[in-house]
C-alpha cells in the first residue's frame, strides 16, 4: 500500500506541476461544448428537443477531449525511461496501472464537471436537480474509460503514430460503455426517470470491473520490454 500511495502522490504531483493534461482537457471540453452548442442552437430546436440531444453532446465532448488528453499522462513516463526505471526498482506493474487509473479518473471527472456546466449554461438546460446523479454516473463511466485508456495508452506510448493510434484502438472498444452512458444520461435528463436497478447501470458497473480486471492482469505484458 505504501508503494501505491507513493505512486499516486508522484502521478498527482507530476500532473499538477506540468498541468498539461488538465489544461488540454479543460480547454478542449469548453471548446467542443461551444462548437456543439452552436450547432444545436443553429437548428432552432424546441426546448424538449434540445434536452434530448444533451446525452449525445455530453459524451461526444467527453470522448473527444479525454482521448486527446489521456496520452499526455504517459509523456513524462517516457522521458528518461521513467516507467522502465519504476519497473526495474521492483514496482509491481499493477500498482503503476492502478495509480494511473485513479489519477486519470480524478482529472477526467474535473473535466466532466466543466463540460456539464458549460453545456447546461450554453444550451439553457437546468441540471441542478439531477447534478448528483449525473456526477455519479459520469464517475462510473470515467472509471471504465480510465481503466481501458490507461492500458491502451501504455501500449501506444512508444508507437510511431502515438496520438493518432490511441483513438483508433480505444474508441471501438468503448462502445458498450458509451451505450450505457447514453442510456443512463437520457434516463436522468430526458425521461427524468432514473432507475437504480436499471440493466444499463448493472452493465456499466460490470464493464468497470471487467476493464479493471483486464488492466491489472494485462498491464505487465504491455509495459514489459
Amino acid at each position: 500500500m505504501k508503494v501505491l500511495f507513493a505512486l499516486l502522490k508522484k502521478d498527482l504531483l507530476s500532473e499538477l506541476r506540468s498541468r498539461e493534461t488538465l489544461v488540454v482537457l479543460f480547454s478542449l471540453s469548453l471548446l467542443l461544448s461551444v462548437i456543439l452548442s452552436l450547432g444545436i442552437q443553429s437548428a432552432y430546436l424546441r426546448a424538449g428537443q434540445v434536452e434530448a440531444l444533451l446525452p449525445a453532446a455530453l459524451w461526444v465532448v467527453f470522448l473527444m477531449a479525454a482521448t486527446v488528453s489521456v496520452s499526455r499522462s504517459y509523456d513524462y513516463e517516457q522521458a528518461n525511461c521513467a516507467l522502465q526505471g519504476l519497473l526495474l526498482a521492483g514496482t509491481s506493474p499493477w500498482k503503476i496501472y492502478i495509480s494511473k487509473v485513479v489519477i486519470t479518473s480524478i482529472i477526467m471527472l474535473a473535466g466532466q464537471c466543466i463540460t456539464l456546466a458549460s453545456l447546461g449554461i450554453l444550451l439553457n438546460i437546468s441540471l441542478f436537480s439531477d447534478l448528483i446523479t449525473l456526477i455519479i454516473i459520469s464517475f462510473l463511466v470515467i472509471i471504465g474509460y480510465a481503466a481501458l485508456s490507461s492500458l491502451l495508452a501504455a501500449m501506444t506510448m512508444t508507437a510511431r503514430l502515438r496520438d493518432l493510434l490511441l483513438p483508433l484502438i480505444l474508441l471501438p472498444l468503448l462502445f458498450p460503455l458509451f451505450f450505457s452512458a447514453l442510456e443512463l444520461t437520457a434516463d436522468i435528463v430526458v425521461d427524468q426517470n432514473f432507475d437504480p436497478g436499471s440493466v444499463w447501470l448493472s452493465l456499466l458497473i460490470g464493464l468497470d470491473l471487467l476493464y479493471i480486471l483486464f488492466g491489472i492482469n494485462l498491464y505487465e505484458f504491455v509495459v514489459r520490454e
Binding site: M155, L164, L171, F175, W200, L218, V222
Partner: protein, 224 residues
C-alpha cells in the same frame, strides 16, 4: 522461430479442409441457385442470406481464434500463436466486411435503405470497427512489442464482441427490421435450412483454411 514442423505436419489436414470447403461451397451454390425456391416476400434477393449468415458465423469463429491465440501467446510465449492471432484478425476483418456489404445490398433490395440504426446492423458495424482496430495496432503499433500489444488488444477486442452484440440488443429498437431467422424458426421449407447449414459449414471451413494459410505466409515472411 525457424521450426516449420507445425505447418508441414498440418498441411495435409489443411488441404483436406480446403477440399471439403470447396465441395460444400460448390454444393451450397448449386442448392442456392438451382434447388431452393424463391422466398415468398423478398423473392430471389433473399438468396444472399446464405452467404450473409455463413460469413457472420465465420467472423465470430475468427474472433474466437484471435482470443485463443492471444491467450496462448501471452501466457506461453509460443511464437506461432501470434501468427494465428494475426491471421484470425485479418480473416475476421474480411468476413466482417462481407457481412456488412452483403447486408447492405440485401437491405437496399428488401427495405429500400442501405443502412438503418437497428440493433443487429449496428452491432456488426461496431464489430467491423473492432476488427479494424485489431489490424491497425499491427500496422502502426510499437514495432518492438507489436506481438504482445496485439495479443493484449486481441483479448480485450474478442471479449468486447459478445458484450457489444448483447448490449446493443438492450437498446430500444425504433423499428426491428432484421429477421430473427433461426430464433423464430423463419425458414419453413426444408431446402432453406439445408442450404443454410451447407453454406455455413463451407464458409467456416474455408475461413479455417484461410487463417492457416495466412499464418503460414506470415511465418515464411518472418523467415526472410
Amino acid at each position: 522461430m525457424t521450426d516449420s514442423t507445425l505447418f508441414t505436419k498440418t498441411s495435409k489436414l489443411a488441404n483436406a479442409v480446403f477440399l471439403l470447403a470447396f465441395i460444400l461451397i460448390s454444393y451450397a451454390n448449386y442448392m442456392i441457385f438451382m434447388v431452393v425456391p424463391n422466398e415468398k416476400i423478398m423473392g430471389p434477393v433473399q438468396r444472399i442470406f446464405y452467404f450473409h449468415v455463413g460469413s457472420a458465423i465465420a467472423c465470430y469463429c475468427s474472433f474466437a481464434i484471435v482470443l485463443t491465440a492471444s491467450i496462448v501467446y501471452l501466457f506461453t510465449d509460443y511464437k506461432k500463436a501470434d501468427l494465428f492471432g494475426r491471421a484470425g484478425a485479418e480473416v475476421g476483418f474480411v468476413f466482417c466486411t462481407i457481412v456488412l456489404l452483403s447486408g447492405m445490398i440485401w437491405g437496399k433490395a428488401a427495405w429500400n435503405t442501405w443502412f438503418r440504426w437497428e440493433p443487429r446492423l449496428v452491432s456488426f458495424l461496431l464489430l467491423w470497427l473492432i476488427a479494424l482496430a485489431l489490424n491497425v495496432i499491427r500496422i502502426f503499433g510499437d514495432s518492438k512489442n507489436t506481438a504482445r500489444h496485439a495479443a493484449v488488444l486481441g483479448i480485450i477486442g474478442a471479449v468486447t464482441v459478445p458484450i457489444v452484440v448483447f448490449s446493443i440488443k438492450l437498446l430500444p429498437a425504433v423499428a426491428q427490421l432484421h429477421p430473427e431467422v433461426v430464433a423464430k424458426r423463419g425458414l419453413k421449407h426444408p431446402d432453406f435450412i439445408k442450404a443454410m447449414f451447407i453454406a455455413m459449414g463451407g464458409l467456416v471451413l474455408f475461413q479455417f483454411y484461410l487463417i492457416w494459410l495466412r499464418a503460414k505466409i506470415a511465418f515464411l515472411e518472418e523467415q526472410q
